[in-house]
């Protein structure tokens, strides 16, 4: 991956304190960005920055609740000219349809959709002419049982990505999404209700994805080399969705 030498090489990664966001932060730092690691959990964001620094990169931790519009605007103002934004922070929980309440939907959309909007609006203004936004969707967007509030919030990410791509294209800002399949994060491994072997059996290649798999796709779409790619949602799921939402 080419190193960015322009001045505005700053990238913001939300939810960069853990899992996929941490890997994205490390990859973007390696590609030459100064990475602002923004996370609700400031201590975890600091840990990510320590890893970036140890690898010879530049990073800075920000304690941020992405649903706090004022805090988002203030942070982006502090950061200044921006080259890249990765909307990675998101929440997930399982709840069958008959048990769901409107409040579950609202909370899910507040974090996974509305906060993404606020971040994009502030970031696009800070990008001037040229930049890249990458949103993290999920293969759940294709349709998933037991968490319709999450699945539809991620489908919204796809529609948002295409629409904003159209609106920002004339400014030279690309907007793309990466839709991860099942990714083996520390959190997933820690969940007692998840049978990892059963999940592996659904994969054409027999393996689950890693945070690095997602980070590499994000780094590609964020780089100037992908400057003619916009509005796309790239599934990174090891081919799991080839047979549609249910897998093959």
């Amino acid at each position: 991956m080419a190193q960015h030498t322009t001045e505005a090489n700053v990238a913001i990664v939300t939810g960069g304190g853990a899992g996929i966001g941490r890997a994205i932060s490390l990859h973007l730092a390696e590609a030459g960005h100064r990475v602002i690691v923004a996370d609700l959990n400031g201590a975890m964001a600091e840990e990510t920055v320590a890893l970036i620094t140890a690898a010879g990169g530049q990073g800075q931790a920000e304690t941020l609740d992405i649903t706090d519009e004022k805090a988002v605007a203030a942070m982006i103002e502090r950061v200044g000219p921006l080259r890249c934004l990765v909307n990675n922070a998101g929440i997930f929980n399982v709840k069958p349809f008959d048990a769901l309440e409107a409040e579950d939907f609202r909370r899910m959309y507040e974090v996974n959709v509305v906060a993404m909007f606020s971040l994009c609006q502030c970031a696009a203004a800070a990008m001037g002419q040229g930049g890249a936004i990458v949103n993290i969707a999920s293969r759940a967007m294709l349709g998933s049982a037991q968490y319709i509030h999450y699945a539809t919030s991620k489908a919204a990410v796809g529609g948002f990505t295409r629409s904003l791509a159209l609106e920002l294209a004339p400014k030279g800002i690309t907007v793309n999404a990466v839709a991860p399949g099942v990714i083996e994060t520390d959190m997933l491994r820690a969940r007692s209700d998840t049978n990892l072997d059963a999940l592996r059996a659904l994969q054409p290649g027999g393996t689950l994805g890693t945070p690095d798999d997602i980070a590499a796709a994000v780094a590609f779409l964020a780089a100037p080399q992908a400057g003619f790619i916009t509005g796309q949602t790239l599934l990174v799921d090891g081919g799991r969705s080839l047979g549609g939402a249910l897998g093959i």
Partner: protein
């Protein structure tokens, strides 16, 4: 991007996208075998250390020639970029059986045959990565080019089929779907045909057509280990064109 030291076979390497891809792979340290039926431009690639083979996609003996070359090099085939193709044409009522067959013969049968050859090589080696060059015309409705679009639709379906069949053997198969790309062949048309300029530049979200390098970068990413968990995907490299036309404000 890690294509370094890998043996990569690139078809249609004398043309716009193929040539940019061959040069990018070589610059990233891959060992490239470049195939095309057009001999003269291949010679320039040969001068930069790329192995070149003059061959026709419609020749059933092409895989044999390639197998011999790969044996001579003594390295397993890790990557196939199925890029050779022919385009153009008109609406269905203007397209003869013969013309349709020509698109199918190169864009589908030739590509299918080479893919079958590469899968055999990759099975023996325990894995590999194939990138097919489809087209945005495989995904959205477009004026004219009915025979061409049908052939690229076949490439898109074959990509998913192969990814499903060979995923368990460690072979990833993806496609790129380029929008209008400026190559020696298309540059003239983009400049002189007003309607083409209007639709593909003025009304395209990014206000430009693509360059061969734009597509080469996407191919190199999908072929590399960075894309190890991506299979069966078709990545549009079209500047947002297929999402919808986006005229300038004054025209809305």
């Amino acid at each position: 991007m890690t294509v370094e030291n890998k043996l990569a076979l690139i078809t249609g390497a004398a043309g716009g996208i193929g040539r940019a891809t061959a040069e990018l792979f070589a610059a990233r340290g891959a060992q490239v075998i470049a195939v095309d039926r057009d001999a003269a431009p291949l010679q320039e690639l040969a001068q930069s250390g790329i192995t070149t083979i003059i061959g026709d996609m419609t020749d059933p003996a092409l895989p044999e020639t390639l197998a011999e070359e790969i044996t001579r090099i003594g390295k397993p085939l890790a990557i196939l970029v199925n890029n050779a193709g022919i385009g153009g044409g008109g609406r269905l009522d203007q397209t003869s059986d013969e013309e349709l067959r020509r698109y199918m013969e190169v864009n589908v049968v030739g590509l299918f045959r080479l893919a079958r050859f590469a899968v055999g090589q990759m099975q023996a080696a325990g894995g590999g990565s194939i990138v097919n060059v489809a087209s945005i015309y495989a995904e959205v409705g477009a004026q004219n080019s009915s025979g061409y679009s049908a052939s690229k639709g076949a490439v898109a379906a074959l990509t998913r089929q192969m990814a499903t069949d060979y995923g368990p053997e460690g072979i990833r198969v993806n496609a790129v779907a380029p929008g209008l790309i400026e190559t020696p062949l298309t540059a003239e048309r983009i400049r002189t045909e007003a309607w083409r300029h209007e639709i593909f530049v003025e009304q395209s979200p990014m206000r430009r057509v693509g360059q061969p390098q734009d597509v080469a970068q996407a191919i190199a990413f999908l072929a590399s280990d960075e894309a190890a968990f991506i299979s069966g995907e078709s990545l549009r490299v079209d500047g947002g064109w297929a999402m919808g036309r986006y005229p300038r404000e004054a025209q809305i």
